[in-house]
Amino acid sequence: MSTPFYVSPQQAMADRAEYARKGIARGRSVVVLTYADGIVFVAENTSRALHKVSEIYDRIAFAAVGRYNEFENLRIGGVRYADLRGYSYDRADVNARGLANVYAQTLGTIFSSTGEKPYEVELIVAEVGKNPGDDQIYRLTPDGSVVDEHGSVAVGGNAESIANYLDQRHEEGLTLPEALKLAVDSLARDPNGGTARTMTPDQLEVAVLDRGRWQQRKFKRLLGTQLARLLEGDASAATDDDATPPAADGAPEGE
């Protein structure tokens, strides 16, 4: 009878963490930053069909890097969790903290269960508040840790160097074009100090949680010409016809 090799728990966990980290580091990055009117999500993503940034609920959005099928599963799980909670209680009772907690438990259980391979994903769950001070951003790592982030956060390939760059430059009360420019600059930068790449709107997936929207659902993708204008610094492109409801008291009711 052969004796199984002894692997210390520390070593086993370190191996799993290393495995997950490598998977995440292969992918391109996503950055999330707060600006005066909300939270902006910028991902380097050439695909129009496979999203890295998505809506979860009225004020909550999700961004992820890593293995697509794994984070897509978590995204769908999150939408189901939020919709079920909102249906059982009320729409106001769905919050990012609860969702981050459920994700943390899910990722953590999978990470430490020997029967399952750890998920190679890193997630961001963000909720836009009524005021800039109420904005919440949580970062979740594959081992189930939750990090409460303030102002800006980056996940994926060069997350560390991007996060440093953002930390030094991000400040409260940026306008949307300013925040967008900062985000794109941080993604385009060469971590080894070479010349920065140029990024076109086609290479970017951009979405906002805009607290100024009159609709109940604050999530909005920025696409095509609107995105191009914003990237050129045209602040007027930030406000479109969504800013005001179609009639004085025509806001949808009954939900």
Partner: protein, 281 residues
């Protein structure tokens, strides 16, 4: 809901199972007791006395469709509520109006709104108008057991079809049978009178505003002859709910706007109590 989570607090397997984009299917698999139609009722009991919503009317016009409802809910001979809302946005380009058992109907609308939103979030695109109408069929069919015990829900669905570029109206029966109506439609207890009125007033060249007057006339005629339908209430300023769906999306007319139209209708009715007269030939 919390009770259904496993001891570790992680998302149960049903949440992470890929495949379905339908919130209804998810509920049916995970927590079927939350579905309105799945509750077991004791057999052979007399129908319950519960508030009933009454008349809903719809009319298409050039560039959109209009869905309107009166504000009364009745329970037998009693007016249960005089300012109930029976017309709701289903999503950005459609609306649903409800007649029948008010409590169940409002819950069905909540679930229907969520079903459309859920699909949109999971798939990243919205359902076609036909697809939405079919989802509603499924929900009504799920309620058949309740309907047979007297708790029927009969909705009307109207929306702007972005593919075809026009407004469309769908009506249903208690079994979920769906039919598309051309021009105008009415459902609920006062529907016979409302439909008669619409038939005489409806023209295919209506504008959004004239169509609003037409549906208010129809609701007035329904209230005139059906005790369960409420007319415009000038003393309390309670007016029918009128919603307009066009290429620009769903919009509910403000109370002031509807009040003005309703007052104009009432003004004419002071001279001609039976309303406008159609030519004989």
């Amino acid at each position: 809901m919390e009770a259904s989570f496993s001891g570790t607090g992680r998302l149960p397997a049903a949440f992470l199972t890929p495949g379905s984009s339908s919130f209804l299917d998810f509920l049916a698999a995970h927590q079927p007791e939350l579905l309105p139609g799945r509750r077991n009722l004791p057999a052979g009991v007399q129908p319950l006395e519960a508030p009933h919503g009454t008349t809903i009317v719809a009319a298409t016009f050039d560039g959109g469709v209009l869905l309107a409802g009166d504000r009364r809910a009745t329970m037998g001979n009693i007016i249960a509520q005089r300012d109930i809302e029976k017309v709701f946005p289903a999503d950005e380009y459609s609306a649903v109006g409800i007649a029948g058992t008010a409590g169940l109907a409002v819950e069905m609308v909540r679930l229907f709104q969520l079903e459309l939103e859920h699909y949109e979030k999971i798939e990243g695109t919205s359902l076609s108008l036909e697809g939405k109408a079919n989802r509603l069929t499924t929900m009504i069919r799920g309620n058949l057991g309740m309907a047979m015990q007297g708790l029927a829900v009969v909705p009307m669905f109207a929306g702007y079809d972005l593919e075809l570029g026009r407004g469309r109206i769908f009506t249903y029966d208690v079994t979920g049978g769906r039919s598309e109506e051309t021009g105008f439609a009415a459902t609920g207890s006062g529907s016979l009178f409302a439909k008669g009125s619409l038939k005489k007033l409806y023209r295919s060249d209506l504008t959004a505003e004239s169509a609003a007057t037409v549906v208010i006339q129809a609701l007035y005629d329904a209230a005139d002859d059906d005790s369960a339908t409420g007319g415009p209430d000038l003393t309390r300023r309670i007016f029918p709910i009128v919603s307009v769906i066009t290429e620009e999306g769903f919009r509910r007319l403000g109370d002031a706007e509807v009040g003005e139209l309703a007052e104009a209708v009432l003004g004419h009715r002071l001279e001609q109590p039976d309303g406008p007269q159609a030519p004989m030939l």
